[in-house]
Assembly symmetry: C2
Homo-oligomer: 566 residues x 2
């Protein structure tokens, strides 16, 4: 009798038009990437599940979105705002109002699955250009109507939630043009609604599109790459998976144009100046709370794919993996373009997921002193000029070997690269089976890495039937980030909120920052004052009041600016 397949019957139908699932399903409607059998076996073992737990689909959100209240905007506002963009670019139906008020946070998914749409704007507008944005912001400022900008909608921090109603501006529909490609300065100026793949394609195809002499890359590849926008990267201070070399979104932005309630603002333009505090920096990370980003000038880099090197090592433990990554980051030979260390739990999961848990492999690891529940995976990649890239890989390998690492060839890094944008698809499958998978992340200085890792991991796993996988993937000479993935059977929003709130508190208590690259949104907003202190918050509020005296820009807790402490 053949062994029955361990694989559940995954849902593999595009969401119905207008359904709640059409809002929360990750990525392309007709694309899936299911958990591998090894991952299911891993979860069964760690969460105490068996095949009965993988049977029924729950809360799949197939129903149409329906708002109980039909309240939108006053008719006069509806009419005036619709007139600015034209009726073909204005939507007031229930689905659109909810769809563009939702990001991709677990909270929003749980709410949508349970039939309680989390929030709704009164009207969705798709501005065609900065003139539209200006007219809309001017009108809303005058009439005190809240505005929430929407880029790609991949926020995991309630960044696009229409907490106070009002209107949503969808930037990606029309405002995705390239405004200037400047090969001399190695910059590109784009509208904020440009999606990652199109942005990168422009640069890769610069000779064909702009008659450039070279091919370029933006160097920014967040996990949301395929569905997030350039504007979103800047607004929420994202980091790409190759940030250790190319820099975070923050580092990439040379200039920005905004429409604020106070008026237009254009900043920056030089690589460096000494003309006082930089308003260009002040606007980065403002998450739509100061104004609407309408254009950005970014640094670009030569595309040199032939020079890429990949490497991977198994290290004896977390301490050695962290020491290797720290030494690589501080040794002055340039940074790898990608570097990632997984803790012991994530390493074991990875071995199982990728089918590398063969007894012979395990035996070989053990013989080399690389023991289960201790050993840690490090993967890396270098880019840049040929000799530079080769040296970065060579020196990185030398450091790993010195710390007891066993070289694993470039395969694990290539394997990671293959599925790096696909992993989020698995979330829907797990949620369908009643299993929550979610992430929180933080920045740490090197001297707090061990404490934050141990403390937060202990907190998360103190919850029964909960797995915590952790990695660090953005490196600096002064520190790194920690990325916690937790998997546990929770479907109740209140319980989820309590758990997440506890994790965040633990992160702060151990010395981590409130966010390394997910941003703040309305989810982290309530923790901002505790994290930054009242003095920095007061300064942010002063800037907010300057640009947005009526508090119409992404109100309701964004960055913790309007939470009553004012």
């Amino acid at each position: 009798m053949p062994k029955p397949s361990i694989l559940p019957a995954w849902l593999e139908q595009p969401p119905l038009a207008g359904s709640r699932r059409a809002i929360f399903k990750w990525g392309a409607p007709d694309r899936w990437y299911h958990p591998k059998p090894g991952f299911i076996r891993y979860l069964n073992a760690r969460l105490g599940l068996d095949s009965a737990d993988w049977g029924a689909l729950r809360d799949i959100g197939a129903e149409k979105v329906e708002l109980s209240s039909s309240e939108i905007l006053e008719a006069s506002h509806l009419q005036a705002l619709t007139a600015i963009v034209g009726p073909e670019n204005a939507q007031a139906d229930d689905f659109s109002r909810v769809r563009y008020a939702c990001g991709q946070s677990a909270e929003e998914i749980l709410l949508l699955r349970s039939g309680n749409p989390p929030a709704a704007s009164g009207l969705v507008l798709h501005p065609r250009n900065s003139d539209d944005v200006r007219a809309i912001v001017h009108y809303c400022h005058h009439h005190h109507i809240p505005i929430t900008p929407f880029g790609g909608g991949t926020s995991v921090t309630l960044g696009v939630r229409s907490a106070k109603g009002g209107i949503t501006l969808v930037m990606r529909t029309h405002m995705h043009r390239v405004l200037e490609f400047n090969e001399t300065n190695q910059t590109i100026t784009v509208e904020p609604g440009l999606l990652g793949p199109e942005y990168e394609a422009c640069l890769n195809q610069a000779p064909e599109r702009f008659k450039a002499r070279q091919r370029y890359t933006g160097g920014h590849f967040p996990q949301s790459f395929e569905f997030s926008t350039v504007g979103g990267w800047i607004a929420a201070l994202g980091s790409g998976q190759q940030s250790s070399y190319y820099g975070d979104a923050c580092d990439l932005v040379l200039g920005q144009s905004y429409v604020t309630p106070l008026g237009d603002l254009a900043t920056g333009g030089y690589a460096a100046t000494a003309t006082g505090p930089k308003i260009n920096d002040l606007m980065k990370g403002s998450e739509g709370a100061f104004g609407v980003l309408t254009a950005a000038t970014l640094r670009i880099f030569r595309l040199l794919p032939d020079n890429r090197r990949r490497f991977a090592f198994m290290l004896p433990g977390w301490q050695e993996a962290a020491a290797a990554a720290k030494e690589i980051s501080q040794a002055e030979f340039g940074m790898p373009s990608m570097l990632r260390i997984s803790d012991a739990e994530e390493t074991e999961a990875a071995l199982q997921i990728y089918g590398l848990n063969h007894p012979l492999v395990d035996k070989f690891f053990r013989l080399r002193g690389l023991l289960p529940a201790r050993r840690c995976l490090l993967i890396g990649q270098s880019d840049g000029e040929k000799h530079f890239s080769r040296n970065v890989a060579r020196q990185s390998k030398r450091i790993c070997r010195r710390l007891g690492g066993l070289g694993l060839s470039g395969y694990p890094a290539a394997r990671w690269a293959h599925s790096r944008f696909l992993d989020p698809y698995m979330r829907d499958d797990l949620f369908d089976m009643g299993i929550l998978i979610d992430t929180l992340e933080t920045a740490v200085c090197w001297d707090r890495l061990a404490e934050v890792h141990a403390g937060v991991r202990a907190y998360i796993t103190s919850r029964p039937r909960t797995v915590c996988l952790t990695h660090a993937s953005h490196f600096y000479p002064q520190g790194t980030n920690l990325y916690f993935i937790f998997i546990t059977p929770i479907m109740a929003v209140a319980e989820y909120r309590r758990f997440v709130s506890g994790i965040i508190s633990k992160i702060l208590e151990c010395g981590g920052s409130l966010s390394h690259h997910h941003g703040v949104g309305k989810m982290m907003g309530p923790f901002m004052q505790r994290h930054l202190g009242p003095e920095q918050m007061a300064a942010l509020r002063a800037v907010k009041r300057h640009f947005d005296p009526h508090g119409i820009m992404n109100p309701g807790g964004t960055l913790g600016l309007d939470l009553g402490a004012d």
Copy 2:
């Protein structure tokens, strides 16, 4: 009969105590570095001078500083403020009041030489610690008394001018302690009054001083290095001569503590975060207009002097030199730690000054197509890990050769390094002879480099008997800076101001920034609105009002914040 020496009789006496010369003389009172004979010959030829012009010393400022008005502060304020720091740390004599209100700008030197002290504070205080600063700022805020912080006093933009009287806080007297050395994070936390050499010595001697495992460098070497403070670097956004690799002051600062009229403020601490706009960035470059910097945490780097490589090339022209520097900056092999291209005029001057203008050398250059009045010198240096540094030098040389450059060995770069902190001493000698030497600098994007260079140079040399030497010395993939040195017989302040004001206007007109690394101070303040636009200025003023509602912090035009446009 021996040829009479071309060398003038330079003044070589330490300034008299309390004299005006004691204020403006560069650097150490008992140290001189006179122009070389080649430089005198060069100036004679270019400015139409002869030995008669090098005879008499003029306006050497030997007289004691005397203020015509003895007005200082109200007696009650004098008493209260003196009580905070103790009488041994308070000075109200004429010399101190002028001394600590003066930086090192040509305007201040001209005024001091002509017997018109440029400004005076009412009282000079030397705070012992941040408690003193807090008490002083609190008192002054309450009583609306202007405060001007003074670091090393090397500002060339009237940054320390007590434009509205009040008090000056001298930070370097006591507040030069190391507060924390953190080898794990590769950071150091210091008080702002620490001078460059002491800061660098701490880091170089980290094993002896802090039991560190490695030696470190701050990587920040502005020309004022020996006499400027860490606080000054941050306040005015300085750049060191090795900024292309180590970063500008702006990039080096991880966290700051301020005492503002509103209260204390501590910022930053992580290498990167996504917790909204960064107040740490907002405070950099605030030039004492928001508050008093009391501590800063900076990134440090491993000191690896054995890996240093130096190189130099003569290139056919400015276009080729700029193309070489641009390609080096964009080619993705890491940046040289020092790179400098001199235009044709500066190149000829350098050859003569360094005695490299031998007819045989010249003939050799000509044979290689490197013609006088066209050829341009490029010098460079690489640092970092051994293979990294070697590759940066190797790739840089390859680029220079490809652009028609002739390798000149490492000698010119070593020669430059030898005198890099000495050149400012020559200024006093030239002024003593009635010849003004001054500098202005700007940031440019690559696509404006030629225009700014040609336009500004043409403007400067349109003045009769005026030499303009230009170089670029801070490089980024997106652009560089231009540093204009102009030499001309001017001694009248009004004429000087008109000339300089014209140059600044020309820089802005051609597309340069108002400053790359000298800061703004009260000299560039009047140009800020034109340069940044009213919108960015309004944002800066909003921040200023937040921290300093009574406008007591470095008032009178700093950053152009209180020039009546408010």
